[in-house]
Subunit: 358 residues, 4 copies
């Protein structure tokens, strides 16, 4: 009898259930007899022994289901070193649960923060295998995370909806897209959705360049302009500030988010009214797209295979279309950002898209 | 040779193009020879003779296209009596264009404000036929406007997306839905999307009742609560204010919209964090749903038939599944609101939904 | 403690789960204590006591889920009078189960065949309440059945997909749509999807009229023609046959279905190649659309209310936008067909659509 | 003034318009002055000088539009060497048009057959740049073709719809998917859609293995089985036949396509009824998905850049996420098939999917 722990941690995304189904389908082939210990709400469930013993049947029919049947919670790595409310060592709590339940392995689905903790647990000797989930696509070591394409689909659909209304009304629209500290969703959805301007955290914008682009379009007789703005988009002025200065500035900002500040700046300088749309959490909700379901199933199968081969301490990753194991130690603590020399930036510029930098 | 003017006015919505295609398909059957004078950007185009002479071919292939190929603009009725920037009488300008172009009829697609103006033009002797468009479904005299079901689909989809993320995270979410001064979109999408609370302009809410509902769900072990809030939702306190007082209060409000104020109130009283999502203008964008395409095609056909029969001064309306002409004089100036005795309110309460009133 | 039986019978459709959720949500409000006896696979489960005792929790989270969590099977009424394989009386078997389990009421979700049986059980004294489900929309006594609009959405989407490929390739396409013996799906989807020809069982077609329509379009320079053909579409010649003759002809037919025969006839007379697409069972699959979810939730609530008021022997129906109870005796054995004087037929003809009859 | 010819050839697919828009957006950045010669219906338009002179405006707003605004036709390479109906040399006709119009370059969007011809024209000295379009994803030299993911989305959606109805009814379903002679669509959609069996042209199936898989599922208490069958799927027996024998066999086959034959075989051996669904041409219709819109825009930009750099004789391809030029001579005449050692086959087997081979 094999005992496999499983948990989903960090912000939820599409295809978590599909990925877990993949792992369990794979395990079903390798083992006649096994139990899944499904920890509730991420690492919390592992710390406080909040779990359900589950069988393959529990993971049947969830391929298309949004969210995560295990629940999740944000559990930042920086808290790992500090005791919990009762003064207990969090890592020790997790290891105690693992040992008490005599787990053979722990499957962890999560994003960047989650991987730091997973690496720590692996270094402490637990048999950990992870899967890269996040709509942000910012996990180092994999070309693609599941959840990302589903989020891009929703973001692109929002841009499509805004296009028809913008075109009908002669308007400038800003659509603020998710992505945390990176611009992958805005970059992909912006190109797919035909945005005229794309602003990313990785390429600080000059508001005058943005306005130039809008005014150029107006001169050319275009009835509207659409800006796809990542939630982490930052101006050149702000990018020059120290972290401390920036934090202080943001605390005092009257704007709920980046898009509103940009809208105000454009309005101020042009007198034109700007509409802001924030699809927000809808981008991480609903069922996964076919692409995500395929890659998360594949990653799940690979994770099961690693367990069967007793190869621990790895994240299963997608590289050049193939699934490969990447050591957790290489993944933890790094961020995959859009670099200014990313081919999509160049291609975007060839397509006439302004990134607000030139 | 028949000369038919056509314009779309007010906020855009889905199925405007499908409706115009319907009108033109119908006219093609009735007349061998006719021209469409497509006025640009609503009544503005009629006032300032900004139009294109169009043929049936121009309306081909637009059945699924979002927005309006004629463009639109908001042109409130209250401005009708006042001169334009150059001191010209707006109604006279429109009538002059109509006469100058020797139009046989004018087809107007619009919402409430649009219908006031259309009725005025009809009273002045123009041959006007109108079609009821709006995502708000608030036009008096018709059971259904086109655009409404498409908006409900998008709003429901937003609720679906939020459901999976709310369930995964143990959260309370507010989704603010469009509808102008009425609650039709929030009511239909709220029921279709399984909202736990629905707040409408027509049923002022008691924040304590809303909180009770959320707390009851928490006690029952439900992991989340979803509130579908119409953009016009109003508290009992605010509903008791005079129009003037309310306007003043809103001018000083720090909240971008209703949902944010409600979120703050709940947070204040319960300490719980509330997430707000505002799908906004996406609700009026993108292609029309099958339902809207069917009814707008039918309404378009009926409008063409009215023109052929030279029956003017009517809006084509849907009543009990049939298309009927309704005199513009009956439509103009009225608003179709949700009444507290609407069967859907009762049914919603049977389903356990709180409307914040009891 | 109330004991409520529930079953879904006949071909599955979208929104069955949403409707059952509605019933159970309603019952939860009326009764502190109740059990749902969920019979598996339709009347079969009732006959052979194959059921699960279920609680409201089992019906939670299924609003958007396609199919039916209870399973279903086709159980034609004509078999009611005959004994089962073991020689047992089927109606007696069902009544025995009902009595043995001391049920207070039986909720039945089904189509035409299902309603005949439900009426019979009601006449025998069981407390029956029914809900009208079918993608065919052919249940007498209600304006709308749930499942219908979802099927129309899928059928319309198929027409949309075919439109782009037909237009690119200069082709004639036939899309065969579901609807059993009636043409509602083909009529609504045909209008919503911009079909050039719509063939319905209720309006026997003259193949020469169909060909004339295609040739007229070709002459006008149109690159393609799309035919929306109901699976039950019938030629004037076949409509003139006796039932027996028709059955014999169909047994010997080389065509898998109506669309293929029509394609061959057109090809034979025009030499043009025709492509056939049969979306088939996809039309009854997948999650329900917002419209169906709203009406099935409302109907479910009304069914719960009837039980609470102990008003039995009724189907909850939608009439002119309102939910009303209709006696089962009025519903059973009747079929709601498209009549040639249905306003949508006239409107379709105004739009230039050929129904193959003139 | 630059003169750029453009044509789309072969079966249509999604994102052709998006790709052409990308090319034209790119050209707009590189050249102040240029004309697009849009040849109608593929190489036919080039042969017979059927074209429109187009400007960037004509390619505006078509990012989401399905099909191709230029029209297309199938023009197999094998006919290249033979004269046309009037005895004219086809290649010469095309070259004459190119020269007569003084074209600077010819942009060709097409699949395998199209690339053979494009390579020939390039060898003859025309300045040719191509883009890889096809839902089949079988073009050698590129990891991905546009159209493919959109087709996979539609195919997966069909599988999803069938899943709910299969589960409700205890049934075996076969869904036949497109892909011409290769199995990419069936492989990706099969995994994404949770198929139990996937049959591909590249892996000849043993019907007994397929039946074993279905029977194993039934024994395990699964209510249904879903088979994703590529239109080119072939049995081991048929794969052993010579081309001539196979052709003869297919000519005499009573089955419209592969899926029906497999259904009959299973029925014959098990007595179980099997339902077949053929989404057919819907898989190449409708608007492109976000993924295809992003890659086709990128490829379009790259094609424009090649023209600007006067680098001719290349197809723009996607390799490991980057856009690279691949010599036409390397592409022409080759087919990218699924190989039995493709990682997705192995992963599929780990997931418990049967490929009918073991």
């Amino acid at each position: 009898m094999k005992r496999i722990g499983m948990l989903t941690s960090g912000g939820d995304c599409q295809s978590l259930n599909a990925a877990m189904r993949g792992v369990v389908k794979g395990l079903s082939g390798f083992y006649k007899d096994f139990e899944i210990y499904g920890f509730q709400d991420g690492y919390k469930g592992l710390m406080y022994q909040n779990y359900k013993v589950m069988s393959p049947k529990d993971f049947s029919g969830i391929l298309t289901l949004g969210g995560t049947i295990l629940g999740t919670s944000r559990q930042p790595f920086k808290l790992m070193g500090t005791p919990d409310e009762k003064g207990q060592d969090k890592v020790k709590l997790m290891m105690d649960t693992y040992k008490k339940l005599k787990l053979d392995a722990l499957v962890v689905l999560g994003g960047n923060g989650t991987h730091k903790t997973a690496n720590l647990l692996s270094e402490k000797g637990l048999n950990v295998v992870t899967l890269p989930k996040t709509i942000d696509n910012d996990i180092w070591g994999t070309d693609m995370t599941f959840g990302f394409q589903s989020a891009v689909d929703i973001a692109t659909n929002a841009l499509d909806c805004i296009h028809t209304t913008a075109a009908s009304h002669n308007r400038v629209f800003i659509v603020e897209l998710m992505g945390h500290k990176v611009g992958w969703v805005a970059l992909h959805a912006g190109i797919a959705g035909g945005a005229d301007v794309i602003l990313l955290p990785e390429i600080p914008y000059d508001i005058d360049k943005v306005i130039q682009c809008i005014e150029k379009r107006t001169k050319e007789g275009k009835r509207f302009s659409i800006l796809a703005v990542a939630e982490g988009a930052i101006s050149k002025e702000d990018a020059a500030l120290s972290k401390k200065q920036l934090k202080a500035k943001r605390l005092n900002s009257p704007y709920p988010s980046a898009a509103y500040e940009i809208a105000d700046k454009i309005k101020e300088k042009t007198g034109q009214e700007i509409r802001v749309t924030v699809p927000g959490h809808t981008q991480r909700g609903g069922g996964p797209c076919a692409y995500d379901r395929a890659i998360s199933s594949r990653l799940g199968a690979a994770a099961a295979e690693l367990i069967h081969k007793e190869q621990y301490g790895y994240m299963v990753a997608l590289r050049d279309g193939k699934v490969v194991p990447v050591p957790l130690s290489e993944v933890a603590g790094k961020l995959k950002v859009v670099t200014p020399d990313d081919p999509m930036i160049h291609e975007g510029k060839v397509l006439g898209i302004s990134f607000g930098d030139e």
